[in-house]
């Protein structure tokens, strides 16, 4: 009797502890899932693994923060939106200066910042996006080009697209265009943007980048790769219509019938132009 009482006490105590710890662990697990959401304006140091791996590899020691010569990085304090203790920077405040020797990566003892990244130009901390064309003064026809000029990968990550200014009719727009194959996401452009709220912002790649389906082939690129047209130029162009149909170009659409002797339009493009004028 005494023995079973002891066992009973042991079992209830164990169950009580297991249940308590289980509840705590469940709450922590849910919190851990939630804290994977990195705010869009929080940027990881160069070489950071993808966010899920990073949160497993970073032990929150702050050695990258210490070795950053520009005080760019900080560790998330309790109550910040970034996962507690992990390093990040806010481009609008202090951007990454893209040190050639990448001291933050060298300082990382665990490899949460990938030591395989040796050329800072290959870093992809994020991607700059000209996110507000209504506010960006270049789109208003004003000269600015601050983001273009401050860019450490000048002319490659951001270049200027000269467009016609339709409003004035005689000026050019100097439109900044970001190229993802060169932009490191350092954030110099966002910091330098002259507006009260930056019109160019560094976004996480997952937010900033679109992606074509894998089966897309761009004809002009394929042509260049192949060294010539992949479609035989001698092939006569044909409409691929249902059997027994032909196509009337003048608005009648598909016309059933076997009479294929008449082509829908003349071989001479001028006929189409003149014909339209003649109708009126």
């Amino acid at each position: 009797m005494k023995f079973s009482g002891k066992r009973r006490k042991f079992l209830t105590e164990t169950a009580r502890t297991a249940a308590g710890v289980g509840v705590a662990a469940l709450m922590l697990g849910l919190y851990a899932r939630q804290s994977r959401a990195l705010p869009a304006d929080a940027i990881r140091p160069p070489g950071a693994l993808d966010e899920d791996s990073f949160l497993g590899a970073c032990i929150r020691c702050g050695l990258c923060v210490r070795d950053c010569p520009y005080d760019t990085l900080s560790l998330a304090a309790a109550g910040d939106d970034v996962a507690l203790g992990t390093p990040y920077f806010t481009a609008r405040n202090i951007p990454c200066e893209m040190c050639q020797d990448i001291p933050c990566i060298k300082a990382c003892p665990t490899g949460a910042l990938d030591h395989a990244l040796e050329n800072i130009d290959d870093a992809r901390m994020g991607l700059a996006v000209v996110i507000d064309q209504e506010a960006c003064i270049a789109f208003q026809g004003l000269r600015c080009e601050v983001c273009f000029n401050i860019c450490p990968v000048r002319g490659k990550a951001i270049d200027l697209d000269y467009r016609h200014n339709a409003r004035s009719g005689k000026h050019a727009l100097f439109i900044p265009i970001v190229h993802s194959d060169a932009c490191t996401g350092c954030g110099k452009c966002e910091q330098a943007c002259i507006l009260e709220q930056a019109a160019i912002k560094v976004m996480p790649l997952s937010l900033a980048k679109g992606q074509m389906q894998g089966h897309y082939r761009l004809g002009w690129e394929e042509k260049e790769k192949a060294g010539g047209s992949l479609i035989g130029t001698e092939d006569k162009h044909e409409y691929n219509l249902p059997a027994g149909s032909r196509y009337d170009y003048e608005g009648e659409g598909l016309i059933p019938g076997d009479d294929t002797s008449k082509v829908p339009f003349s071989d001479n493009p001028l006929d189409a132009l003149n014909g339209r004028r003649d109708d009126k």
Binding site: G20, L28, A32, S53, G56, R60, R66, A77
Partner: protein, 300 residues
Amino acid sequence: MAAVKTAQAGTDAIAAKGWLGAHKWLILRRISQVGILALFLLGPLAGIWIIKGNLAASLTLDVLPLTDPYVLIQSVFAGQWPLQAAITGAVIVTLLYILIGGRTYCSWLCPINIVTDTAAWLRNKLGLKGGATFSKKSRFWLLAASLLLAMMTGTIAWELVNPVSMVFRGLIFGMGMAWGIVLVIFLLDLLVSKRAWCGSLCPVGAFYSLLGYASILRVSAVHRENCNDCMDCFVVCPEHQVINPALKEIPTGTGPVILSSQCTNCGRCIDVCAENVFQFDLRFNNTQTTSVANKHEVLS
């Protein structure tokens, strides 16, 4: 009556050894805790970079890497294999604590220890009794849960809430709302349950107790025959269950060394004992009739 007695724990020792003598190890511990923190702060505050980083990983004088083995093991459970620098640091730290006692981390380094010691002291002074009880095994359950969570979430989940690293890191890199957790732990230990955090819940302490399972440096009740049953050591000890075997089980042939890995080597028992029963010793000097046997060993 008992409350009055516990509130006065240590008065005999102060009478016998003076205030300083009765607080020697406590003062040394506080110097160690604050001093190590100060070394970390010397860089950011004064630009003197002796040691960089925090308890998770640090670099001393640009050569000595130290890594917290607990956080590194969580990282491995999360599926990330660390670089050599972190592993080297963790091995050094592990060896160190095998030498000086695993939970020496708790009483000589951990910043939360100051909070919980203060809560325990105040609880004693105010004569607060009772409250909730947590199983002292909870910490091992939480330790297992922290590793399991790392594995399941692929992230070091425990580091999101770990008060030890949060406060130490916070003091060096920015506290944010970490003062909140200091307050929570203080109130928990003061009002809810005696020594709840360090004594029952903290998985960091549980991990370091495993590191110190066979640690060399231990407290020993060398002169236990002088014990006058004043109970002062039991009152001040944060893990008082560890004292009894070494101090009182002479008839069963148990040696005087406190072998329990839950002993934090804080040395408060040495301080408060007016009869000088305790001292730091090596775990090997654990023969039963110590005073005599020790002399024999030294002589032979």
